[in-house]
């Protein structure tokens, strides 16, 4: 009976936290944070973090480590990347929200915009990891993709942790 009880609890645990995905350190060599991305997403390490795209290509995001001095440059690079991909934003739709993720205070700025395939949602989020380290999340997705992957995106966001 004890084995059955143990098995029941182990099965319950497995049902609660099914294998969610791969965990990356951000950045890989001198990590300040970690993030888990579902296996079904295409993920790869970039210079100071990772970028990932949903399997259907509807959602893209990048998470990069930066610091107070480098934040402005990181934002400029993200904006340049989005411009290079043909993404434009409607400045009048800008929404700024503040919040926290796993104890990290953050600011998010979201716009509606367009890309080569139509309507898009774009956001830049900065999370304060410590006094001298931050994460910048660049998000670019179709409205449909945002809705479809809402739950996974919530899980990805909740997986971001300081290390």
């Amino acid at each position: 009976m004890k084995m059955k009880l143990l098995l029941a609890v182990l099965v319950a645990a497995a049902l609660i936290t099914p294998a969610f995905g791969k965990t990356f350190k951000v950045p890989d060599e001198t990590p300040v944070a970690s993030i888990t991305v579902p296996d079904s997403w295409k993920s790869k390490e970039i210079d100071k973090g990772i970028e990932a795209q949903s399997g259907d290509g509807e959602v893209y995001f990048a998470v990069e480590a930066t610091d107070a001095k480098g934040l402005e440059k990181t934002i400029e690079e993200a904006v340049e990347y989005l411009k290079g991909e043909g993404v434009t934003v409607d400045a009048s739709t800008m929404k700024q929200t503040e919040g926290s993720v796993n104890g990290m205070k953050g600011v998010d700025i979201t716009w509606n915009g367009k890309d080569k395939e139509g309507a898009a949602i774009i956001s830049l989020t900065v999370l304060e990891v410590s006094d001298d380290a931050a994460l910048m999340i660049t998000y670019w997705a179709s409205p449909e993709g945002t809705k479809k992957h809402d739950k996974e995106l919530g899980e990805i966001l909740n997986s971001i942790k300081k290390v």
Binding site: M1, K2, K4, L5, L6, L7, A8, V9, L10, V11, A12, A13, L15, I16, T17, P18, F20, N102, K151, G154, E155, N158, S159, K161, K162
Partner: protein, 172 residues
């Protein structure tokens, strides 16, 4: 109604709300590597850490619970769905007969928001109690406590479980 409610972890916690705290209890951080909350459990209980920071607590009589982070839960509706899946999963794992469960119940316990569900079944001729409760210490960050035991053993540990749940406190 009172009787049915008292079968759940949450209701027991509330029913015993004025019980004296355990005289001998040890504090456990969860998860160990980056604590989100602490809880206390009797000194003679032991803990094991599993995959993804899960903690399994075992009482000397073999009563065992699991405490698990639940990143797939983002609201109370998710919690109710998860509880349905978890209780049925536990019953199936024990090859139970006559599985039945009560409706999920939602409670506030101090700063703790809980959704709990109780199930029953028979395994090897023994009446079993299946319990699971999903709770959040802050919006969107959920954890689950699960346990399966013979009814008699479950009943014998209700006060301890009540104390354990009441002791859950966020790590600032």
């Amino acid at each position: 109604m009172e009787t049915r409610v008292s079968r759940t972890l949450v209701a027991v916690a509330i029913a015993l709300g004025l019980a004296t705290p355990l005289l001998h209890a040890k504090k456990v951080e969860f998860p160990a590597d980056d604590p989100a909350f602490t809880f206390t459990m009797p000194d003679d209980w032991t803990t094991e850490t599993g995959k993804d920071g899960r903690v399994y607590c075992t009482a000397p009589a073999g009563f065992k619970i699991g405490i698990i982070a639940s990143p797939g839960v983002s609201d109370a509706d998710d919690a109710r769905k998860l509880l349905t899946t978890v209780l049925k999963g536990m019953a199936d794992a024990m090859k139970c007969e006559n599985y039945k469960s009560e409706e999920a119940k939602t409670n506030e316990l101090g700063k703790l928001s809980l959704v709990s569900r109780h199930g029953q079944c028979k395994s090897e001729g023994i009446e079993m109690a299946l319990n699971a409760a999903v709770f959040a210490l802050e919006p969107g960050k959920y954890f689950t406590i699960v346990g399966a035991a013979p009814e008699k053993v479950d009943k014998a540990h209700r006060k301890e479980m009540s104390e354990l749940i009441r002791s859950i406190a966020a790590v600032e």
